[in-house]
Structures are given as C-alpha cells and as structure tokens.
Subunit: 302 residues, 4 copies
C-alpha cells in the first residue's frame, strides 16, 4: 500500500471489522528489519518511574494510588494460625489508577469523534459499563518496529520548547532531515520537546501547558504511515490548544481517524544526548480487557 | 562467576546494597546474544487477556476491577459547556487491581523469609505504608535475554500435569535434555505444566490446586544461574504444598534467597506446539514505584 | 390533604421543584406525636452489622471493602520521625462500598421509570458523572415519625415466608388489623417477612430469591400516605418478580412515582417477638452529596 | 458511681472485656429523660453535606470519592437484553471514603496510647488487616441522651475563635454557667468554636489550624462523666497542638483513656443562634464491622 491510503476517516483500509488501525503496518518484515538493525544491544529505557505523585490532567480522577492489602507481618501471623511455620511473608498491594498514568499508551478506543470511534465504530455500542468491547488495549499487538527520534528541542537549541509552543510539520521535517532519517510506513515516531524533564520534578509546570504538535503535524506523520507516535509530554499535542474551541484534536486525528496509537510521558533525554535517531523500539502493553490504555515501559535498542 | 556463587541466603554476591539479584546476570553480552539469535522475527505472545474475571488466590483481595471514570458522552457534554465544539469524547476508566493479576512478574520484595527480604533487607524498614522503599518493581531492569522452555507436560505426554503434582529437578533435567537445551547463567527458564489452559476458562479448577515445582527443582534452576523463572500456573510452585506446614517455599527461595524473579500465569501452549525451546525473551514491567510486582506482556521471539 | 392526593406519577402534589416526595408528610405535628408516644424509652436496633461479607445482588459491584490506610504502628513511627513522642497511634481505614449495602435507605433518585426520575426530573440532566444533582440522599430529611410493623410472617405462622412468595394488599390489611393498627399519612411502614434471618448467615439463600411485596401491595401502602416503606429482605419487593418482563417494579412505583423512600435489609425479629406494632421510628441518613442511598441505623423507640 | 470513677487509664470501671467505655452511662433512665424533655419536636440538623470536596487532614488518604457503577441508561439497556420491558433504570454509585469524613464519629479503637487501645486492649491483637476485632464502630450503641451546648465562641463574642486558640477548662465552665447548664454523667457535650463555617467554604483555612480544646479541658469534661464530646472543627482538639511533641493528645485521652467517643465536623450555628443549650441528642452510627468510625447525621431535638 502507499502511505496515503490510510489515515482517512472511514477509509476502511483494513476492513469494516478492523481494530488494529495503523498497527496493521507492523508487518513481519518490518519487525525483522528492526530487530536485525540491532548492533550493540544497548537499551534505552524511555519511561518514568511513577507513583501517587504522577502528574495528571483530569480533575477528580486519582491517577495512581497504592495501599498495602497484606504485609509480610500480617501474612506470617495468618499463616502461623493455619499451621504454616516457614514464615513466608507476602507483601501485596492494592493499586488504583487510570490507564493513562505515567508513561502509557492510548488504545484506539480512548477518544471519539462525536459518537464514532476508530473505523466508525459506534461509541454507544462499543463502550460498556466495564470497558470497551472493541478497540481496547488487549487488541494492540506487541509493538516491535523501527523507531525514529525527531528531536525538535535539539533543533531549537534550548533545553526544551516553551509551553504552548506548536510544533509544525516543517519542524518535524527539518528534525528528520537533521538526523538523516526518512520516515517509512510502520515506523514509530518519537518527538522530543524536552518537556519530560518536568515530569515528577515540577508537576505544576508540567501540567500548566506544554509544547507539542497540532493537527497538521499529526497529519504529516500519519500520511507517511507511522504506526504510532510518542512524545515526552502529557498529551502529545500542544496544550492548551491555540484554538480554544478544540479539545484534543490531535488525539481525534491519530486515534479516531488514522488508527495511530499514541504514547505519552516518555523520557527521551538519553536518546537525544547520544544522538540516536534510529532504533528498534519495543512496546508491550499488558492485555487488560477493554481498557482504554495501559502503562508501558518502552525501550529503544541499538 | 560460576553458577554456584549466587543463590545463597546472605551470600552478598552483588554487594550489600544490591537490589537486582540474579538480574545482575543480564549482561550486555547475554542480551546481545539473545537478540542476535533471532532469525525469523516470529513473536509468541505469552500472556493472557485478563479482566474482572481473572483467577486469583487471596480471599478478600479484588484482583481486578474496571469502572468508567468518564465516557465519551460525559466528556463531550462537559467540553461543550466550556465552549469546545469538536466533540472529542474521552473514554477513561478507573482500574483497581493487585500487582499480581493476570500474567505478571513478582518483584524481589514480594515475599520475605521471616523478617528479611532479599539480600537481608529488613522487611519492617523496607515496607512503608505506600509500598516498598527497596526491591520494588521499578528496580527491575528491562529483561531481554535467552529464554528456554522446559516442557514438562510435553515430556509427561498428557495435555497437562495433574493438580498437586510436584515437578522434580530430574524432570526439569529430562525436559532440558529432550529439547537439547543446556541452561546457562542469565537464562530465563519457562516451565510448562499445561495448567494455563484453565486460566479464565475454568477458574475454580485453575485455583483449586495446580502442578508446579517444589524447592529442590527451584534450587536446581537457581544453582545454574537462571535470572528468572516463569510458569503457566498461578504461583510457579505446586499448590497445595505437599508439606502443609510450608507456605510458598518456592517463592521464598527464588525471591528472598536467590534474588530470582518469578513470572506467573504464562500461556505457553503455542511455544510448545511449535516445539520452540530457545528464544529471545522480552519482559518489560511498568515502573510503578514501590510495587511488589506488575502485570506484563512477555514475548518470545525466534 | 387526603391520602389519595399523592403517589400519582406527575401529580405535582408538592410542586414542580419538589425533591422530598412523601417525606413532605413528615410534619412537625406528626413528628412530635411520634416522640410524645414514647413511654419506656426502650430502643430496638433494626440494623444488621455488615462488612465485606454483606449480601448483595449486583454482580461486579463490590458491596463493601475495608482496608487499613494507616495503622497505629505506622502512624506512631511516622510521628516519631516528626518529633512527636506521645505515641498516639491512629487506625484509619479505607472503605469502598455502594450506597446500598447492609441496612440502607434508597434516595428518591435511585430508580427511574424510563428516562424520568421522581417528579418527572429528567434522568439525563439529573445524573452527573459524580452523582445526582437532584434527589440525592442529602435531600432526605431526618426521618422521625410513627412506625408501624406489619408482621406478615407472624400472620402466616411460620418463621418466614417462602422465597418468591408475593405479599398481597389483603395480607398487609390483615396484618394491620391483627395488630390493631390503622395506617395514617406520614407513617413509616415496616414489613416483616422473616427473611432477615438469612442476612449474613446464609447469603446464598438470602439472595437466591425472597418473599416480598408486589406493586398492588406497594400501591395500597402509598395510597394511604406512608412516607416510607421498609422490609427485612434485600429489595423490599418479591424476587424474582413473577412477571419476568418486570425489573424492580415496586422500586419504580415507590421511588419514581410516589416519592416514597425504601429501607432494605432491616432486622425486625426483636420487634415481632415483643409484639410491638407502633413505635417512634428514627432514620438519620448521612448527607453524602448526590448519593443514591446510604447505610443507616434505624431505631424504633417505645 | 461517682463522676470521678471513670476516665482513668486501666481503671477497669466497666470490666476487663468492656468495649463501650463511657457509653455505659447511656442508661435507660438517662435516655428516657432526654426523650421526655422534648417539648416542640423541633429538629436541628447538626451535620454538613459532604462530597469529594470534604476537608481532610491526612495527606494521601482520599477522604471521599464517588463514581457511578451503573446509570439508569446502562441498566435499562442491560435489562432489555434480558427481556425486561418496564425500563427501571438504576443509578448506583461506588463510594470510596475513610470513616472520618464529613460529620463523623470516632470509634473507641481509632487512636491508641502506644500499643494500647481503650481498656488496655493490645493494638497488635485488635487491629486485623480488615479492621478492628474489638472497639469498632459496630459496638457503639445508638446514642440518645441529653446534649449540652458549650458555646465558647458565643462567650468570646466573635464569630469564631482564632485558629490555634486553646479552649481551657475555665472557659468551658464559664460557657456552661452562662447557659445555666450543669454537666451530668451521660451528657453529650458539644463545643462551639465557630470554626464550622469554613467547612466546605474555605477548606484551606479550615485545615490550616483550628481552635479547640486541649487535654485539661478534655479531662474536665471526662471527669464529669460525659459520654461523648463533639465540636464544630476538624479534630475536636486545638490544631496544631501548642506542644509540638504531642500528636492528638485529646484523642488519646478521650478515646484510649476515658472511653469517651468523639464527634467532629459538627455544624452548631443554628443551635447557637437559637440559644439552645439543652436538648435531646441522637447519633446513630451505621454498623460497619470493625470500622474506626462512621459518618453520622446527629440531630438535636427540643
């Protein structure tokens, strides 16, 4: 297929029942090429450690909470009562979270365009009380493909772009050119704004606004056949949107129109410092049935 | 180092502050060799889809629960009130879970031997109200290494071993021999009992007891320097333990004594059907601060 | 007003903005009369103790869960670190529950008739993501009024009515007659089926079906002006409904049509044993904003 | 008994197994006298409405959270699938809270003195993973007794006392004298500081500090045999404590030493405005097994 064949609303590139979207571009050949490109085996860990102090946008939604269900002490006492004497103490916690905490991936069913989700699926029929019946994160395949770093912050020259600063298609093209990279179908594009340094270190700043792409930049990427897009900020897209009548338009385009997965809250400093522009990128989301996303631990390997 | 140097309680192989345990054996050379062994790029997804119906052992601990925080409908209505007209509807859920649901990895701090965790860390000092201050899952590095399948069920001839059936060191040795595999330091050993077929299909049966290894089999593996052990059952070890005075002795040995991570609830049928005994195994746990484990999506690549 | 003036759908007895329903009948005179009727001050506690083992009807909704947030030990340690030396240890738990656990009251906004709640309020406008904007339990006034016991089980002669047994208006009338009671506007009617003995002692039986009233019996009560109706079973009404095409029709009539509150899971054995048919009934629901009900501890005083 | 017989640590006034403490003073005679004192039946509702915006002291403990489990829309759709056509829509929420949110009562097991709870019960033996095995709120009887208002703010002349202002025994005595009240065994003392006006209206101010009693004032009350003490502030006692080495010393004295229940976050403005100093006070805590407290809706009746 050519790059322009997909990414159109209702294009039905991959059939009326398709739930993979641009993840269809993760072909065996693409994957093998990415794996074969590995030379040294050096691993870049692109995720943040997160906990109850994780930054999060939505008011009233606790992003993450952890409490102990059972401590070693409690379980030893309980097991002794049942006659067990080897004193195996189990520490087990209760975790409460949204699927969009820390470094995480958005499932295609996360954002709608009106009443429609990706591939035209009806939101009212798809969303049940207990999650998505289609387009949940368990449908996302293991993502093992070529990753490319578009270091817009590096191109800009400062440690990070300013909050609210729109990243344009032209800048993405220049960042690719500067790195000697041509985006190809099935690539996973990572965009560095430099904003990731405030994750967990200055959450108020991290959340008050952020640099990011707007719809034209997203369209430029999806038109070239990227399978997914990630960034080192809260929502991939610029916040707040320059047009106050628009909420999350980049999410709408990527997820609902183009079937392109999004990864947020990445940590891209080390890749940039080492000037690594091409790598094998691996993202393995846990298969929580019907979830609209999942925390992940993406790694780049060179 | 030689294989017998680690795995002893208090051996201090890796220093008094070490929190990695046998994951120290994940050397760059080991990783690169595993990646270089990939020939076709075929991926085996070794995890189950899980949800509120996930099997779980502990009474009173909800394994997994998902509710919608926000539906596309609610968020469109709310955004319209704020003047946003592009009707981006966000589906966002609340997830409640333990770290030990579905296919998951145990952090080294999950189980104690009396008041001591791995490397002699004092459990009372390590476990805080909000999780582990040491040995939490965020300390576990990306695991990319050689995996070996020890297909004990295949050796046995039936679809699965009987519940309560102890897997011995001799059987592991025979399964390795049958597959032409020699276990090497840093390997990730996967043990197939065939019990995984009941995960989610017959939870009562899955939980009522299971085949699995006992301490001698675990010691046989750790003495050979495995970095981690996984199995297609609830707890890796045989349940119930033949000695009623012992609770989770294999967990104690692997986690608290040998510093060897455990992965549970794997799905190994496809690997076995294809008679794949050696592969590149990749496990990437999300870095939840202080958690005693994490759901993961392990993949084997050949 | 006469008894037949209220209880009609859309009757607008109490005005277009009314959120009290038949609780408007809790007049100062009615209340004072109930209080003045007290002779000995003997208190009957009509509620069950409840916990994680509370019976509950809806699958997938945890009725009640309690975990410790903080133990005396944890808080003493933490306070010592802050220089506090009086060793005040705080035990504080986290509670997770529905509003319909244990002995509880239903708010008028709990059940709709199609898209309409009590007094014709539009359900879509009333229910927000965070609860009811009208008809929530915080609108329910302190209920202090005359209670009457209709001991249908006593009339029947056995320890309890059979599960699925419909209690008819005629039986209610006979029970009132047997006790020498005439129902008056503002009364709080308690119906004894004897089923309460299985709450917490045999939950499977308690939930598998229960004796209770059907719509005609409910209509008979609301036509006489009761302010609320309670019973010693899971849902006041007979379960399952004899007409399989009807779900919770008594709830619809009482809450959505007649504006009559419902109390469930009462314990009425002691009242019946003492043959107490009239009493001062006090129900004081905690004012949780927007909640569809609340656990309560009703008492009868004579 | 004389007033000074109780309130001593280990006094064993009410026996080695006693879990009621000063609630033993709620005798039938005391209760009947309170009920008989009612003249007009006018009810004062002494509680705040509370929700997710409730003020709360402990960091990391969500005080209250409400989400919808089921909406009328979801349940109608589900029931139609099962052939039910009467369109009964159920609104049911999930509530998450501590027992110490809004207007609430503390159970005697809430606070320890070192490793000891009220009546010398060992905290380690009493606190289980799932709550208190003794001294939980389900042991607290219905509280129906004489209440007295000690309007310290009224005595002071301003709308409220200053934050951090200690209320002394002398002031309590003067407030009682000004109201013409003599405290008697079994009375429920309510202390008005005026601080309640900031609950929910200015939480930051409400929590930053508050006027309240210190240990001598608490001892003065318990020595006179009060069954419980309530106040219109966060913690009854002055915050922060003037002695920085003391955490919650009034809680320790009342709960752990004297067996006197505490009610917090009361709303006493209306009582004070009407200059009501004596009344029948009714507090009916839901019987949540093992809980360290419970939200309540106290009412005063005159």
């Amino acid at each position: 297929m050519t790059a322009h064949d997909h990414g159109k609303w209702g294009c039905a590139c991959w059939g009326a029942e398709d739930e993979l979207g641009a993840a269809n571009l993760l072909t065996p050949a693409k994957r093998l090429a990415a794996l074969k490109s590995i030379e040294t085996g050096k691993v870049y860990d692109l995720s943040h450690v997160f906990g109850t102090d994780a930054p999060y946008m939505a008011p009233n939604q606790t992003p993450f909470l952890m409490m102990m269900w059972s401590s070693w002490r409690d379980s030893i006492r309980r097991r002794r009562k049942h006659g067990m004497t080897n004193d195996a103490g189990s520490n087990v916690e209760r975790i409460e979270m949204t699927a969009h905490v820390g470094t995480h991936i958005d499932a295609l069913g996360h954002v709608s365009k009106g009443d429609r989700l990706y591939n035209g699926f009806d939101a009212a029929e798809t969303l049940t009380e207990w999650g998505l019946s289609r387009l949940g994160i368990e449908r996302t395949p293991p993502m093992i493909t070529r990753g490319v770093l578009l270091d817009v912050a590096g191109l800009d020259g400062g440690p990070h772009l300013a909050p609210g600063r729109v990243v344009t298609p032209e800048e993405l093209a220049r960042a690719a050119e500067a790195a000697g990279v041509t985006i190809e179908p099935g690539d996973f594009a990572l965009i560095r704004t430099g904003w990731g340094r405030y994750f967990g270190t200055d959450n108020a700043r991290y959340l008050a606004g952020s640099p990011g792409i707007d719809v034209p930049a997203a369209q430029w990427l999806t038109a070239q056949g990227v399978t997914a897009i990630g960034a080192d900020n809260m929502a991939l897209e610029v916040l707040p949107n320059p047009d106050p009548a628009k909420a999350l338009p980049v999410h709408q385009h990527c997820l609902a129109e183009a079937g392109v997965h999004i990864i947020e809250n990445l940590m891209l400093e080390e890749l940039a410092a080492d000037k690594v522009a091409r790598f094998c990128l691996i993202v393995l989301p846990p298969k929580m049935r019907g979830a609209t996303g999942a925390p992940v631990r993406p790694v780049a390997i060179v």
